[in-house]
Symmetry: C2
Subunit: 357 residues, 2 copies
Amino acid sequence: MSKNIYFTPGPTQLFYTVEGHIKSALKDDIGSISHRSKAFEKVFAEARENLTELLGLSQGHEIYFTSSANEIWERIIQNLVAHRSHHFSNGSFAKKFYSFAKDYQKDSILTESGPGKPFEDLSIAEGSELISCTLNETSIGYTFPIQDIYDLKAKHPDKLVAVDGVSAFPCIPFDFSKVDTAYFSVQKSFGLPSGLGVWILNKACVEKAEQLEANGQITGSYHKLSELRKHGAKNQTPETPNTLGIYLLGKVAKDMIDRGVKNIQNETIYKSTLLYQTLENHPDFNPFIENKEHRSKTVVVSECKNGSAEVIERFKKKGWILGSGYSSFKADHIRIANFPMHSKEQIEQLCDYFNQG
Amino acid sequence: MSKNIYFTPGPTQLFYTVEGHIKSALKDDIGSISHRSKAFEKVFAEARENLTELLGLSQGHEIYFTSSANEIWERIIQNLVAHRSHHFSNGSFAKKFYSFAKDYQKDSILTESGPGKPFEDLSIAEGSELISCTLNETSIGYTFPIQDIYDLKAKHPDKLVAVDGVSAFPCIPFDFSKVDTAYFSVQKSFGLPSGLGVWILNKACVEKAEQLEANGQITGSYHKLSELRKHGAKNQTPETPNTLGIYLLGKVAKDMIDRGVKNIQNETIYKSTLLYQTLENHPDFNPFIENKEHRSKTVVVSECKNGSAEVIERFKKKGWILGSGYSSFKADHIRIANFPMHSKEQIEQLCDYFNQG
C-alpha cells in the first residue's frame, strides 16, 4: 500500500489485514472456485457466522449479500413495501433511499428536516408499511438517536423498521433485535474494497416478502428475497457473486472479533471526542452538527472557515487524505472518517496537525 | 496462487497477470479512492477504452458496469422491454433470462429446442420488442451460429437484438455493430474474480429506455439506464461500485490487446479443435453437441460413459480442475473451459492425459 492514510468516509483506508487476506485468497484460489462448490459454501458460511458474532445477531436473523447498499435500498422497496414507506431524512443518503421508493412508484412519505437538523416530529404517515431511519448519515455526519429508532419500532410493532447502518456498524453498539432489517456496505467501517452490501433481516421481513409475492407484486428476479433465501439456505447465492469480497468480509469480521468489538466501540468514542474537541477549539473549524448527541462518532463533519480545499490540500501533503463535503457542501465541509483502521495514534497526530495550522 | 489449474467454465483460472495487477492496485490505493474522484474516473475511462479497442466497438457503443450478467438480464427487462421479449433457449442460462422476464410479468415468449439442439424455427412472436440469443450457452457448450444472430437483426430492424456473450467474448470474433446490446461477466473468458458484469449497448437501446421511462414504466432505481448514463457521462457510477473489479478488467483488457485479440481467437480455435478431437476419438467420451458448427469453442462439453465424477477426480489428482455438468447433467457431463489463460501447452497436456486413461 502507498504511504497515504485515507480518512475519507468510504471508500477509505483498508483494514490492516486486508492485504494479507488478499494474498491468502490468491493462494487458496478464491478467485477461481465455483460458486456452487463446497469451498464457496464454506466462505459464505464463515462470513455469516463471523458477522453474526461480531454484530451480536440472533438465530432469527438472516444475512444476504448484495453488490452495494444502493442495491439493498432497491430490494427493500421491491420486497418489503406494497404501497408506502416512510423515510426520515436530513441528508443526501436517506433522501436517495426515498427517491428509490418513488422510482418504484410507491406512495412513500418523506419527513425532512434541514441538513443535519434533528427531527422534531417522528409521527408516521397512515398506511406506512416500513419506516426508514439512517443511523449515521454519512453525508453530513448526523446520528439518529438510537433510542428513537427502538421507540419507533416499539410504537409501531405492525410496521417494519429498516436501519441504514452504512458507516456505523460495527463501531456503534446496536441491538438488531429491536428493528426488522438493517444493512451496510463494506467500504466504510469494515475497511474493505467496495462492491458488497450486507442485508440483515428478520422473520417479519420474510413474511412480508412472501405475502407481497403471493399477492402478485413484482419483487425482482435473481435477488428477490425468496431467491436469496432459496440459495442462501445452501450458503450459496443466486448469481456468481463477488466471492473475493465475501471472503474478505468474513476474514475482517473475524479479525474484529479477535480485537474485541467493545474495544473498537470504545476507541471510536475516544477518537471522536478528540476530533470534535480539536475542531471546536480551533478558530477555523466548527462541527456541522450542533447538538452533541446527534454528532456522528464515525464520520466527523466540520465547516471550514476558509473552505475545504485549502485544508484538504494541506493534509494531503502529509499523506493524510480527508474527505470533502458531500455534494452541495463540497467546498465548505471536511469529513473525517473515524473507523477501526484509523488508530488512536493516527487520530492524535491528525488533531496535533490541526492545532498547528 | 496454488498449483491447481482451473478448467472450470467460470469462475475459472485467473488470467496470468491478475495477481500482479492486484498488487499494483494495493500500491495505488485502488481500494481506498473515492468513486467521485479523478483517480476513479481514470480507472473507469481506461476500462471503457480498453474494452472498446479489444472488442472492436464503435463510437456509438456505450459501456456500463453492473455486478453480474444476472443483473444485466434484469436491467434489460426493466429498461428495454415494455410488453414482450422473445428468448431462444436450449440451455439453462438462456432459460434463466426468460424466467427474469416472467418475474417482471412480461408477456415474453420462449423458443425452446432440446438441450443443446439447434433451433429449427427462428421466427419471432408478434409484438416482440427484443430478441435474446445466447452466443455461447455455458451450461451445455452450444454456440448460436453468429450469422443467424446477424440475420435476426437484419430481418427485424425494428426490434432490439440482445446477445449473451458470457464465456464467448473476446475469444469469439463478433461484430457488435450488427446487434443492439451484448453483455458478459468477467469471471469467464477474462479470467477475473467474479462480481462484475459488462453491458454494451447502442443508441437504439438508449432511445427505447427513454421512451419507456417517459411512458411511466418502472425502469429501476440506481441502475436504471438513465442513471447509469448520467453518471457514466462523467466516467462515474451511480453507486459505489466494485472499483477493484473495474480496475482489473481494464488492465487485463489491455494485456489482451497487447497479446493480440486475433492471436487469442486463433489459439481458441486450435485448442478447441484439439479438445474435441481427443474426446471424439476416446471410447469413454463423446462431445455433447453433435453438429460441429454448433460446438462451443470456449466451453467444451462431453458426455462421460462412466460418469463425470471419476474423470474429475482423476484429473484433480494432477491439479487440473475440470467442470462438472450443469444442473441435471452434473453426473453425466464434464465441461472444459478453453479461455485465453488456458495455454496451448496446458490443453495439449490435458489431451495427452485423456489419451492415457
